[in-house]
Amino acid sequence: MLDVLQGTLEFLILRTLAWGPQHGFGIAKWIKTVTDGRLQIEDGALYPALHRMAQKKLIAAEWGVTESGRRARYYELTPLGREALQRQTTAWTDYVSAVQQIIAASTRKPARGRG
């Protein structure tokens, strides 16, 4: 189980919404499903993040009706959010590959000597 940091949560939300508009519950569920529950996020933590992102105009919120006929607040990526997603995807990919290289490297012994 990993603690999810604030910036990570934002990335996850943006990534989720790339599939299309979704309400908070849906987003939480999707994250759980995709990560097989490995990223344990408290559902409540999602909402301040969502509202903050809406105020930053990364996502837009609108009230809608679910398939079961309930009123729910749907979030959707804005053009600004789409850009942010792209940027953060690149950043994450770079980060992950860098970390992977470090992990791969640590299985070999670092070369000794002074130069």
């Binding site: 908070g24 408290e42 559902d43 409540g44 909402y47 301040p48 009123r71 607040r73």
Partner: protein, 898 residues
């Protein structure tokens, strides 16, 4: 659903507020509750028990209450930020919209802004004047506690300066005053080597600079030590220092020859400080001699008069000071009955005693009347603007109706109309400031007929700007609110269906009619008030003052400037008189120490021969020293006895001439000829040899004032006015008079060379009356013009509205006079109602002015007839042109008009 609710959550009914706008708190609840409900549903579908499902869902959610609070707070602060930004954006949108729509009708905008600029600018100008005289504090610290003290004597009946002894007695009141200073404006000679100049120096008590805390530019002011030691020092005014010494700081320590003595320059006063001489820019300040011997003389003599200023102790009220002062003066009356009998002190805040306590009386009333009249002009111009905006509202009727139909709120429409008015009145205010700057500068250039260095400063300060802003806001509200409200109540349906001719339209027409009536009524008041001022000026100009005013030339010379001794002075004065009389075109000539309505007066404490030790009738009485022939030349008529002759010289018994008012006061029901009187401090008795008719001496329309004359031959003095009576235009003799004096001694300068008429018309006597008439006339013309434009606009508008009707009338045979009559009737009816109302109101209002009027009553019938007639004529003209246009209309084209 029983969620663990926040105990501080708002009650459920608050959700209904959503009907009026978004409620972020309720939205958050709904969103979070949806989440929990969905999760619980999911879990129960998986077969969990409801209560267990609920527990699980809440556990997965985390701290519900704190999440809820956090999200709500986030939303609220965001909402607030957005509200501010949005309302600013709305305002910007309104402004852009208003500017765009104003650009589409530039004529309208220009007329409105011009009208407002006139109305507000006039008010700012007049307020600048009033501000300079009544509001702007003196440029010293604790100016708000600065007071002026004068004395009132029974026969002089008005405040005058205070003798040194009284000043010293008042100074003892240290409980109420920080200190009191005395100052008197003198003309003194400044020797410049090759020439002698006359400068205006305030001679003050030694404490002047220290107790008033006068701000300095350079050096320091003198102190009481200087006057107690009789030191000869001078402080220069900033203006004099810049003019004469090119603002050279090396002037400190230099010695100037002033009045024949060497005075060391010890300081320069700050630029803002002009001294306390009324309206005069003093050139400098020097202490009087208060060394023990000189002080004893000052205390004994009654001939030295001081303007007294002082700073109240913090926390002392004007009333407390008055009480203390009158207590002290009672003691003075008991101690010095021969000089202080009946003398009462007056104390007023300095701002209420401008330009000087001796002449300040009617100024506040004058200011109030002038400001009221200008405010009336502002109201008239507001009415015009309101009327124009209303008319514009109608032209924009369809546009507004479309906006309303498309869902613009009433508030939004009102706001847009107000925004338009705000932009217009803001532009109007800018125009007003420009106008006021120009006109106050022009007014400051007006010169009174005097050689004294008069000084006017009408520079606007924050008070003027505050006033202008207030006037602009009032204008906006007066002119903009009514049309704005009418806009808001526009019914889209009626406007779109009815094609603009509707009941609202008629209601609007009625409203504009009311505005025009009000406008004409207010104009009538202004016109009548102005008429009264004009009539008063005519009356004042032709008023019998009791002395000769036509064909009199005056010129002043002061032989102390050239340091003549008494023999030379006598010879020079005799030669000047002889040569002046010999000039062709000169009928007579005489010398006098003072001219009537001059800038200074002499007064003496007089004891008549009826006085006893128990009842010493010492009274302050105005006096002049004159040469033989004075009465025949320019003076009032001698009704009994004789006037001064050459034989009245130092070797013969001293004589006096009194006026009838003085005779009545001192010797009621007795023949004054042969009686004697004595001036306190002078040992010679004066025998009355003649009685002159009572004239006016100081103020126009003053009550009969006692006055007496003594002979120049017996009371020699170095400064005198030459007065000559000419057969032709007095000005034509100016070069000849100058030549006479130059021939006798080129070093003797002449001052105040002008005709008596000029001296009266452009001097103290008539200046305020003429200024009042000038202001009144300007206001009246403006009000008249504005009201005419208003009436013209309304009649033209209603003609264009009735195009079809008039077309039909012409088509079925109405003649041109019929149509003209129809239109004229409308305009003239409104004008008559307005004029009638205005005249009635004026009857009440002008009564307040009555004390400002000379020789004309406040309900002067001629004014009350001519004023309304003028308005009537103008309003007929204003309606005539639209009427002609209506009558000349082509009925075929008229009927085609939609």
């Amino acid at each position: 659903m029983a969620v663990d609710r926040d105990p501080h959550a708002p009650p459920a009914w608050r959700r209904y507020l959503r009907f009026w706008g978004p409620d972020p708190a309720a939205d958050v609840d709904a969103e979070l509750e949806f989440h929990l409900a969905s999760r619980i549903e999911e879990l129960t579908k998986q077969g969990r028990h409801l209560s267990e499902a609920r527990r699980t869902a809440l556990a997965e959610f985390g701290d519900y209450a704190s999440v809820r609070r956090e999200v709500q707070m986030l939303d609220q602060s965001y909402e607030r930020r957005r509200d501010v930004i949005e309302s600013l954006a709305d305002l910007g949108r309104d402004a852009r919209y208003a500017l765009r729509s104003l650009r589409k009708s530039p004529g309208f905008a220009v007329v409105v802004v011009f009208t407002m600029s006139l109305g507000i600018g006039l008010n700012s100008t007049m307020f600048s004047l009033v501000n300079a005289y009544l509001f702007r504090p003196a440029p010293i610290p604790s100016a708000e506690r600065l007071v002026v003290i004068g004395n009132i004597s029974p026969l002089l009946k008005q405040p005058h300066e205070v003798p040194y002894r009284d000043l010293q007695a008042y100074r003892e009141l240290r409980g109420v005053f920080e200190d009191l200073v005395g100052t008197v404006l003198n003309t003194e000679s400044l020797d410049q080597g090759d020439r002698t100049d006359r400068i205006w120096v305030e001679r003050t008590t030694g404490n002047y600079f220290s107790s008033l805390r006068v701000p300095m530019e350079l050096g320091r002011g003198y102190t009481e030590d200087a006057s107690n030691r009789g030191e000869h020092v001078v402080v220069l005014s900033h203006e004099f220092w810049s003019r004469r010494f090119a603002a050279d700081s090396g002037v400190l320590g230099r010695t100037l020859r002033i009045q024949g003595e060497s005075r060391t320059v010890i300081g320069v006063a700050a630029r803002v400080f002009h001294g306390f001489a009324p309206m005069v820019q003093s050139d400098g300040w020097s202490p009087i001699d208060e060394s023990p011997a000189a002080r004893r003389q000052l205390l004994d003599r009654q001939g030295d008069w001081f303007n007294v200023y002082g700073v109240l102790r913090a926390g002392t009220s004007v009333d407390q000071a008055r009480t203390a002062l009158s207590e002290r003066s009672r003691q003075l009356r008991a101690d010095f009955p021969s000089t202080n009998k009946g003398v009462e002190p007056v104390l007023v805040p300095e701002t209420r005693a401008r330009p000087a306590i001796t002449v300040a009386g009617p100024l506040p009333l004058m200011a109030a009347v002038v400001l009221s009249l200008t405010l009336m002009v502002l109201v008239v111009s507001c009415a015009n603007v309101a009327s124009l905006l209303l008319a514009r509202g109608t032209t924009k009727h369809r546009e507004v109706a479309v906006c309303a139909a498309l869902g613009a709120s009433r508030w939004r429409l009102t706001r847009q109309a107000l925004m338009e008015a705000a932009i217009l009145s803001f532009s109007g205010a800018i125009g007003a400031v420009v106008l006021a700057r120009w006109s106050t500068r022009a007014l400051a250039r007006i010169r009174l007929a005097t050689d004294a260095p008069l000084f006017f400063d009408f520079t606007p300060d924050w008070r003027v700007f505050a006033f202008t802003t207030a006037a602009a806001v009032v204008t906006m509200l007066l002119a903009g609110l009514l049309p704005a409200l009418r806009n808001a109540s526009a019914s889209p349906h009626a406007a779109l269906v009815g094609g603009g001719r509707s009941a609202t339209d008629r209601a609007q027409q009625r409203l504009r009619s009311i505005i025009v009536v009000a406008q004409i009524a207010v104009s009538a008041i202004v016109v009548i008030a102005a008429g009264l001022f004009a009539r008063s000026m005519r009356a004042a100009e032709t008023m019998q003052l009791g002395f000769k005013t036509d064909n009199v030339l005056m010129a002043q010379f002061d032989l102390s400037l050239t340091r003549y001794d008494s023999a030379r002075t006598r010879a020079f004065q005799r030669d000047v008189l002889a040569r002046a009389r010999a000039l062709p075109g000169v009928e007579n000539a005489a010398l006098a120490a003072r001219v009537p309505f001059g800038y200074s007066n002499n007064a003496q404490n007089v004891i008549g021969d009826r006085a006893t030790r128990e009842n010493p009738d010492g009274q302050l009485i105005l006096q002049n020293v004159v040469s033989p022939n004075y009465f025949r030349t320019a003076g009032p008529a001698i009704v009994r006895g004789r006037e001064f002759v050459d034989a009245d010289d130092a070797s013969s018994p001293h004589v006096a001439i009194v006026n009838e008012a003085m005779a009545r006061e001192l010797w009621p029901n007795q023949d004054p000829i042969g009686r004697t009187l004595r001036v306190v401090d002078q040992k010679e008795e004066l025998r009355v040899v003649g009685i002159a008719r009572t004239a006016q001496y100081m103020f126009l329309g003053e009550p009969p004032r006692p006055f007496f004359w003594t002979a120049l031959g017996q009371h020699p003095r170095a400064d005198a006015f030459l007065e000559i009576v000419t057969s032709g235009a007095p000005e034509s003799l100016i070069p000849a008079v100058r030549r006479i004096v130059r021939d006798l001694d080129p070093n003797v300068p002449l001052f105040e060379v002008r005709s008596m008429k000029d001296h009266l018309r452009n001097g103290r006597a008539l200046f305020t009356v003429r200024l009042g008439a000038l202001f009144g006339g300007t206001f009246a013309l403006l009000a008249l013009a504005l009201a005419t434009v208003g009436l013209y606009g309304l009649v033209s508008y209603s003609v264009s509205n009735r195009t079809r009707e008039i077309g039909i009338r012409i088509a079925i045979g109405a003649t041109m006079p019929n149509v003209v009559g129809l239109v004229l009737r409308q305009g003239v009816t409104l004008a008559l109602i307005g004029v009638g109302l205005g005249a009635v109101a004026a009857l009440g209002i002008t009564r307040i002015m009555s004390s400002l009027l000379y020789g004309v009553r406040s309900h002067d019938p001629l004014t009350f007839v001519l004023g309304p007639v003028a308005l009537g004529v103008v309003s007929v003209l204003a309606s005539w042109f639209p009427a002609r246009r209506a009558a000349a209309m082509d009925p075929v084209r008229a009927l085609r008009v939609e």
